[in-house]
């Protein structure tokens, strides 16, 4: 930060300076200087002889002038693995950008609801949410027979305008093609559920 201020104040000779470098290489030069001062650790001679490369590699990478792709050092920073795993956000990137809100209608219900598909990790979660939202139970899903054991069947309208049974395609595919949801009831549902 300080150096940038200095450039603003002087005649900006740097911009008109004749150099052999490519334009826009100023920052990298500073970075080289800084990282060289950073890495004052002396290398033990023996590590080079025996070819134990871990430490020397890490240092070498830091000294390069190109933006360093850091060689990840084993066990550093000292964080337990379960913490690292928990930092992964479970939501898909799609959901983080904008919620995927779709209308949900239930046969016989007075008004529709809206849910954000992006907050669910898969079908089981979505179905449970629907069950609790509309106070009903969905049956067991099987590829052959659809949802058995209940008079309801969850369906969705896809991009082509067709009404599809929820659960047939992979979750990600479903998320991207689902335009709205409808929980069918009664004979209509059974007709859809039977393998036609």
């Amino acid at each position: 930060m300080e150096s940038k201020v200095a450039y603003d104040n002087d005649l900006n000779l740097k911009a008109t300076e004749l150099r052999l470098g490519l334009p826009g290489t100023d920052d990298r030069e500073e970075q080289t200087l800084f990282s060289a001062r950073n890495n004052k650790r002396p290398l033990p001679d023996t590590s080079k002889e025996c070819g134990s490369k871990k430490k020397s590699d890490a240092q070498h990478v830091d000294n390069e002038t190109a933006p360093p792709t850091k060689a990840q050092i084993v066990g550093w920073p000292p964080i337990r693995s379960y913490r690292k795993n928990n930092l992964q956000p479970k939501k898909s990137d799609q959901a983080e950008v904008a919620g995927i809100y779709v209308k949900v209608s239930m046969d016989g219900a007075p008004y529709l609801r809206k849910i954000d598909l992006g907050i669910y990790q898969g079908y089981p979660e979505l179905l449970k949410a629907l069950e609790s939202m509309f106070k009903f139970t969905i049956g067991e899903y099987s590829e052959r027979e659809g949802y058995k054991g209940s008079e309801y069947a969850p369906t969705y309208e896809d991009k082509d305008g067709d009404w599809m049974l929820v659960g047939d395609v992979p979750w990600d595919m479903f998320m991207s093609s689902c335009k709205r949801l409808r929980i069918m009831k009664g004979s209509e549902a059974r007709g859809l559920g039977c393998g036609v």
């Binding site: 033990p44 084993v74 000292p78």
Partner: protein, 590 residues
């Protein structure tokens, strides 16, 4: 004088001794005379073995015939960061077998960094007539089937067995099924503490609800991530007496009915003092805990990926907070707020949200820690991950908080100097050890020369555990520590240019310590052999996955070294990549 000492009947002495619980004091009692030794050993009920290879189960049993509570630790601390290869050791099996035979009245087993199998768990569940407490901290090797055995046998009509505590703290459990919880019998009601936060799979929720509902003494319940938020309220209503709660995933579609239900349930928990969990937090649901914030003494938000404003709103209400764990999303501004609101803070841990990113992703710097050190006069324990530090800040922190006992600083990039002066951080850490005279634990980071170790050797007279990484210039550094730190018990070092000289010159010191770990340093195999031969009461383990150290020149540095004192001799369960040296100068392969 002797007659006076013997004039008390044994029962009286035993009664007096029963008021002395601390291990060191009991050890001192046992050295007074033969009769006190005898009475003490028969009445010792609790044994702590800091290194399971320092002594054999038979030796413990022979000395203390009637133990009710045992605590064992296995792998070295750096195993937490994957520096100890799989299969190194720490098996609890021989201990369980021996104790199953010798201690039928054993009530408590606490293990840390040990390998325990389903068979071991089954043996535990059936062998001890009055078993009460099982704590498995950072353990591995078992599955939910083992837990099912514990659950199924938690209550015994034949004996007086009634399990109270099942705590799986950060263990790695193979998730075979969530049905294990169903094995708790319907008439089992004595659960006091259940911690299943580390489990990945969904546990049978209805079984959990019923279990919680029928155990009126339940005070600690730590759920796992798979327990959804909309189920939490029901659980809380069944256990309003809870003192410690770990939520599951703290996310759900924002709905007023779910929110008010949750908020009401939290309000009903008048004893709640500790909160944790908070995976996948949806900020809109945080206000549900506001009603109880003023009673909280412990708050673990280290999984909560929420931003500073939400964190500030929450923590700002916790005036009685003593322990705070949080991600660096809290930012310097958030720590300023903590310093202003949480005047009773004793312990702060700030974890990195993006540990592998090359650039800082949040404005969290040394300033946050300085603010805390200024505002929180009771601060004793710090774990702080950040990306920049200065000697000035460290000196300020040291002068502000001479009462600090645990100081662990991790500057994420190895070898980072003082960002203001570009100097090493020697004087900063020097100030810490100089001012904080009761410092017990210290972890170093950043650019450091031998000078910091000179400070440590000179001032850190109460230091018991020191962790060092990417620091120092020569053997002098290690020598300062080994010769100066009188109370040192555990020393762990990685990637430092320390070699044979300091190690061999301070060989006797190693017998006064629990253990020494050195990896990626400059210790040669020749020195290890010498040490192993000279010191029969040390196990010198060379851990090297590149094959036998004999295949390389003796001057070649070994990969990893683990030295610990022991009265049990070499262990019998070493894997192929561990070499140890016997006193008969022959290299012993496992």
């Amino acid at each position: 004088m002797q007659r006076m000492a013997c004039s008390f009947p044994d029962e009286v002495l035993e009664h007096v001794f029963s008021f002395v619980q601390c291990d060191n004091d009991r050890n001192a009692i046992s050295t007074v005379c033969k009769s006190w030794y005898k009475i003490e050993r028969w009445s010792r009920r609790r044994v702590f073995v800091g290194n399971c290879y320092a002594i054999s189960p038979d030796m413990v049993i022979r000395r203390f015939p009637d133990v009710r509570s045992i605590e064992l630790k296995g792998k070295p601390h750096f195993a937490d960061f994957n520096l100890v290869p799989d299969g190194w050791g720490g098996y609890v099996a021989p201990w369980i077998s021996a104790m199953a035979a010798a201690y039928p009245w054993l009530e408590e087993i606490r293990l840390k960094r040990m390998v325990i199998t389903d068979e071991n768990l089954e043996l535990i569940s059936k062998s001890f007539k009055n078993f009460k407490v099982l704590v498995l901290s950072s353990c591995e090797g078992f599955s939910t089937d083992g837990l099912a055995a514990i659950a199924a046998n938690c209550r015994s009509y034949l004996h007086c067995r009634n399990l109270r505590e099942l705590d799986l703290r950060e263990s790695e459990v193979e998730d075979l099924s969530g049905h294990w919880l169903k094995h708790f019998p319907d008439d089992y009601t004595s659960l006091v503490s259940l911690n299943i936060a580390c489990l990945g799979c969904e546990v049978s929720f209805s079984a959990l609800e019923r279990l919680v509902g029928r155990c009126p003494n339940l005070r600690t319940l730590r759920l796992n991530r798979a327990v959804p938020l909309d189920k939490l309220a029901n659980l809380l209503r069944r256990a309003p007496q809870l003192v410690e709660l770990g939520t599951g995933a703290y996310s759900s579609e924002l709905r007023p009915d779910v929110f008010s239900n949750l908020s009401g349930a939290f309000s009903g928990c008048k004893e709640l003092k500790s909160l944790s969990g908070f995976w996948d937090v949806v900020p809109g649901y945080l206000p549900a805990v506001y009603p109880i914030c003023c009673r909280l003494t412990t708050l673990n938000l280290s999984y909560a990926t929420i931003q500073s404003p939400d964190l500030i709103k929450l923590v700002g209400q916790c005036q009685n907070l003593q322990r705070l764990w949080v991600l660096d999303y809290i930012e310097d501004a958030g720590l300023d707020a903590v310093a202003a609101s949480c005047k009773d803070l004793r312990e702060l841990r700030v974890f990195p949200s993006d540990p592998y990113g090359p650039e800082p992703n949040v404005p969290l710097t040394e300033q946050g820690l300085v603010s805390i050190s200024e505002g929180c006069s009771k601060l004793q324990s710090v774990l702080y991950f950040c990306r920049q530090m200065s000697n000035a800040a460290l000196m300020t922190i040291a002068r502000n908080r001479p009462n600090m006992t645990r100081f662990r600083l991790c500057i994420i990039e190895p070898g980072t100097p003082d960002y203001l002066t570009l100097q090493p951080l020697d004087v900063g850490f020097g100030a810490i050890v100089e001012h904080c005279k009761d410092l017990q634990r210290l972890s170093l980071s950043g650019l450091l020369t031998d000078l910091v170790f000179e400070y440590i050797g000179t001032y850190a007279k109460k230091l018991e555990m020191l962790s060092v990484a990417f620091a120092g210039e020569s053997d002098l550094g290690l020598h300062h520590v080994l010769s100066g730190c009188e109370k040192l018990r555990k020393l762990e070092i990685r990637d430092c240019p320390f070699g044979d000289k300091a190690l061999l010159a301070n060989a006797a010191k190693l017998e006064t310590m629990r253990s020494l770990w050195m990896s990626s340093c400059s210790v040669t195999f020749g020195a290890c052999k010498l040490l192993g031969q000279k010191m029969p009461r040390l196990n010198v383990e060379v851990i090297d996955e590149r094959g036998t150290p004999d295949s390389r020149p003796e001057s070649c540095p070994i990969d990893k070294l683990y030295i610990y004192r022991t009265v049990a001799g070499s262990r019998f369960d070493m894997p192929g990549f561990v070499w140890t040296i016997d006193e008969d100068s022959a290299m012993r392969l496992s």
